[in-house]
Symmetry: C2
Subunit: 340 residues, 2 copies
């Protein structure tokens, strides 16, 4: 790593995604915490964390720390805590959503049972808080404040998401607020925590948060789009899963807003139907989405958010480490399937 | 309040249980946190916290703080956080134990559903962490360390308790370790956190923790005993509930250890039976407990722990506020149904 960061500590600092991810994996795996008793409590945590995942949140926290010229290792424990927190939410969400698979493996409540997913999830939340609290003492209150804000936000987002299941009409702005809370605040909060550990000026902490928020929103919209348009072999899940589960995604919400009454009623009926041939249902819904131009609308929103994110990060006032900036931009562009 | 504490801030400080409890109630009720959106997330938390309870943990934290001559209000937010944490564990435990009633009211998963109990519980855990993190900055890392230790401990205790359901033999020492984790670490940790906020010397923090641990263990054993010997009108739940649920309490564990083979097998059979007349089952089990002298054994253990707790608190090296010490001793004695 070049710039200021490379000189701290006198040893070369890792800088790119692959290297940071590896460091996160190693730290996660070697945490003493998981060796505690009873193992019935900790094994599901180790299993869930071993299912993989891109480690987006800790890597973002580490990059944010490095960006302001601080040794990224100062943020390592909080960063790993954010990944543990993320996985805790997955354990509980999978119970609530009755999801059977994640990363091609059985979810914890399927492999064990719901009680195990609840309790091991709780222990993971406690462990996550414990790791985040290992932030340097001088920035600890600010880091904790950011962490608690994001933790409550994620709960609020999940609640809105559950409300949507039985709520007949969901507006675009309600949908955007839900994904902001459920997805974007954790992405944004990870960057914020990394920047706080680095002692970045408040203005830049806010900019990086805004950047993360835009990236997080774009990431979720992209995911909604990929549900129908992904290359199944690379996507890791079956095409049309959201439609199978009658999930009110951005595509659905926009289609409902854009379609004329007859088609709107048809789409609404499809999302309450049961027992219909699944492939037929997916094809019919897809056609309605496209008739409403919801798919193009979604792509445009992703582009717009990505552009806005770029504006935020280019407006940082600090003199940042250019290699880390490059790595961060490349990483987030990659998350959205873009070249950088 | 006399002594040093009474002079801080120039206004009289509350000192006894009733007054401190009232302050906790008021603070809990007025937390801005519960006014957030979506209300579907926060209403169950307000409901659960409104079900009552003795507010043992926050009162202990406040008393511990006052004991060392510090204004108890310094510990108010962490104390309230401990109550929110305790109630979070109740929400999740009630799902896992399939408990329908608490303090004579429907539990959250019954009044709403399991998903609500899980998610609102998670939000309460986040809120609890947030409140505990409002401890004064100079003791924050120590307070958080105590909080995370107790949070993981409570999860471990609940896991052992769940393991016991399917574990054929539970030894007395396994049982004591389970209740230490499930009940005593939160009582002890509450006193510890109060003492840490007060800046008590490490030696006294440890003594107060040991005191809380003994009181917590005694409190649980007392509860096990009350399941059969309480005055039902004061107890707030039906006599014999633990037996109805085949719960391996101290009475059961001791009876199994003390009974000769024939009676032991009879007791074991009773605890796996279903469909038996409940009153008959309770009477038969009670007779076996008494044959094994488990009830006297339990009383003796409570007395022993209470005496040991007294030794711990009388060995504090600091010059403590005598009114607060009196209030603390009276409160804990009262919890165990004793005069002071």
């Amino acid at each position: 790593m070049g710039g200021i960061a490379g000189k701290i500590g006198g040893i070369g600092l890792m800088k790119n995604y692959a290297q940071l991810r590896q460091e996160v994996e190693k730290t996660l795996r070697e945490l003493q915490l998981w060796k505690g008793e009873p193992q019935a409590l900790y094994q599901p945590a180790v299993y869930a964390l071993g299912q993989g995942g891109k480690r987006i949140r800790p890597v973002l926290a580490l990059m944010a720390c490095g960006l302001f010229g601080k040794d990224y290792r100062e943020a390592l424990m909080p960063a790993v805590g954010l990944e543990v927190f993320h996985n805790f939410t997955l354990l509980h969400d999978d119970v609530m959503d009755n999801a059977a698979m994640r990363h091609g493996m059985a979810t914890v409540h399927v492999k064990w049972n719901a009680d195990t997913a609840i309790l091991s999830g709780d222990a993971m939340f406690a462990a996550a808080s414990c790791l985040v609290a290992k932030a340097p003492k001088d920035c600890l209150p600010e880091v904790l404040d950011a962490f608690h804000r994001l933790a409550l936000g994620v709960c609020e987002g999940q609640q809105y998401d559950m409300n949507f299941e039985t709520q007949s009409e969901v507006s675009k702005s309600e949908y955007m607020e839900m994904i902001r809370l459920k997805t974007a605040v954790l992405i944004a909060g990870s960057l914020e925590i990394g920047a706080l550990v680095a002692g970045a000026p408040q203005e830049d902490v806010k900019r990086l948060y805004a950047y993360g928020n835009k990236i997080g929103l774009a990431f979720q919209l992209q995911d909604d789009w990929l549900d129908l348009y992904a290359d199944e072999s690379k996507f890791g899940k079956r095409i049309g899963g959201d439609i199978r589960e009658n999930k009110k995604t951005y595509l659905y919400v926009r289609a409902i807003e854009n379609l004329k009454e007859t088609d709107r009623k048809k789409l609404e009926a499809l999302f309450t139907s049961t027992g219909m041939n699944e492939e037929e249902k997916i094809a019919t819904v897809k056609a309605l989405f496209e008739k409403a131009n919801a798919h193009e609308d979604c792509r445009a929103a992703v582009n717009q958010l990505f552009a806005e994110a770029g504006t935020e990060i280019d407006a940082l006032v600090s003199s940042v480490d250019s290699d880390t900036l490059h790595a961060l931009k490349a990483f987030t562009a990659g998350l959205l399937g873009r070249e950088y």
